[in-house]
Subunit: 297 residues, 2 copies
């Protein structure tokens, strides 16, 4: 089995849970349809896979951590729905289909996002009741996720990103901070809460957090690079055209080659936090980290 097959197998396991996790909670039909339209639109399920892999690496059971895995995907999905809104990035398409507010309407899209965010906390808080996880662990994990998703994390990062748009000459440090909040925080929280739920000690939780933080940055740099490289290959747009759109990116700020090498450095740093572990989950996380940066080499 290749790494990509294994990633697909794990994503399919998450998918199976996602398909039913919003049901049976009294949600009006059209709202549920809208929430599931976006939640079940595919995607790599990176965040849930990270929750489960770190949980498994440190001795946790997949079944028990699954509500958290699903919650992180719910939160990620809500952020995409709200980011696509006309008042935000105004995107009509998402994953090759009409974005939520195009398929439904703006009010429904706002509420679908609000619903997914709230249901995420419903799922997480039920993990103790229905899965028998210790309440203090679950509570700590919820606190980590709330901090990462909130105004000092993902939501704050999106606010800063909106302020950056159209502004030229954003310093690299500010760009890094924005990305650490907007995308990095939730990726980090995925690893960290997987570790917390397993009952691991502080040193292990710290490794999970640092692994997450580093692949989060690498992931963002690679995303920026693929924007440029992808465009050049498929549309023939010149390298650096994102800059003209008023968007600060790593390639725009430091060039393509330096960006690639920086992404590799972050992945290498992430891998140091895996070096003390063994077994299939360690192997999987190692390859996942490598996979992020391999896409641009």
């Amino acid at each position: 089995m290749t790494f990509k097959d294994e990633l697909g197998r794990r994503a399919a396991e998450v998918e199976e849970y996602l398909v039913t996790c919003l049901r049976g909670r009294g949600t009006p039909a059209r709202l549920l349809e809208s929430m599931e339209y976006s939640l079940l639109a595919g995607g790599k399920r990176l965040r849930p896979v990270l929750v489960l892999a770190w949980n498994g690496l440190l001795g946790g059971e997949t079944d028990k951590a699954m509500p958290f895995a699903a919650s992180l995907e719910c939160i990620h999905t809500y952020s995409l729905i709200h980011d696509d809104l006309p008042a935000m990035d105004d995107d009509d398409l998402r994953r090759g289909r009409p974005s939520n507010h195009k398929q439904f309407d703006e009010a429904t899209a706002i509420l679908a996002g609000d619903g997914l965010l709230t249901e995420a906390f419903g799922l997480m808080s039920a993990a103790s009741i229905f899965k028998g996880l210790p309440a203090d662990r679950v509570l700590r994990a919820i606190h980590v996720v709330a901090g990462a998703a909130g105004a000092g994390g993902m939501v704050g990062g999106q606010a800063v990103d909106m302020e950056f748009t159209g502004r030229t000459g954003v310093p690299l440090e500010e760009l890094k901070t924005m990305h650490a909040m907007k995308t990095g925080a939730l990726i980090t929280a995925s690893c960290e809460c997987g570790a917390i739920l397993s009952g691991a000690d502080e040193a292990d939780i710290d490794n999970a957090r640092r692994f997450g933080r580093n692949i989060g940055v690498a992931f963002q740099i690679v995303d920026d690079i693929l924007d440029v490289v992808g465009d050049t290959a498929t549309l023939g747009k010149p390298v650096g055209s994102d800059e003209a759109m008023g968007k600060s990116t790593y390639p725009a700020l430091m060039g393509l080659e330096k960006s690639k090498s920086l992404a590799k450095d972050y992945v290498d740093e992430a891998l140091t936090h895996l070096s003390g572990y063994f077994g299939s989950e360690q192997e999987f996380l190692w390859q996942l980290a490598r996979y992020i940066v391999d896409r641009v080499y």
Copy 2:
């Protein structure tokens, strides 16, 4: 001290906590400003006051339950910000000031709402860590709040309300269900989670829930009545003009007098769930329930 003085004293106690509860969490300045603009815009603080009164009635400490009290106000505030958006009710004013998206901009208002909702769960999950409440109680209370605020509760109710707008002849039963979700669920959850946090037994928690459910309905009926009566008095609009706006209300569906008497019935039913208790918190809750309906008599 009159009941209104006592209500004001309790609201001021909540206010003191609200003023600082969003600080120190790394929120970008403008986003924090926007969140606090709406959170600190006054209001009766009904939900926090209910949390604390039920908590106190059943032996809980105010200081420990305060993060939950604040969280319920954060959730209520976020719902008002999102409801006011152009895609929803499109209201330019809220409590006599520009609504959030008018004072800031639409993107900021969406994110301020998202931030308040997420921070609410951050505050609640920290209540065990910083206030020493038992984790299982806190987790159960979070689960109750998430259920009430989510797609099967408040968010779902707003979705149904949007579907109702402009539709004539909405049956009374459907109107009741919509209100029970949109406003009733969070009021009920306020009472219930106050009881849960105090460590009360199931019978007490059930009383809190039923008290909340009944005053929630009464509160909505009175709101509908005040829309009509208030308008007639101040603007000279005829009774029933809301009907012309395509909005189903209790007075429109059953007339003013029958609505008043129905509100009174719900308050009387609520009071039966207080009859077994004694002391200052019982007295306060009793008067609070009476106060709701007294406004239209």
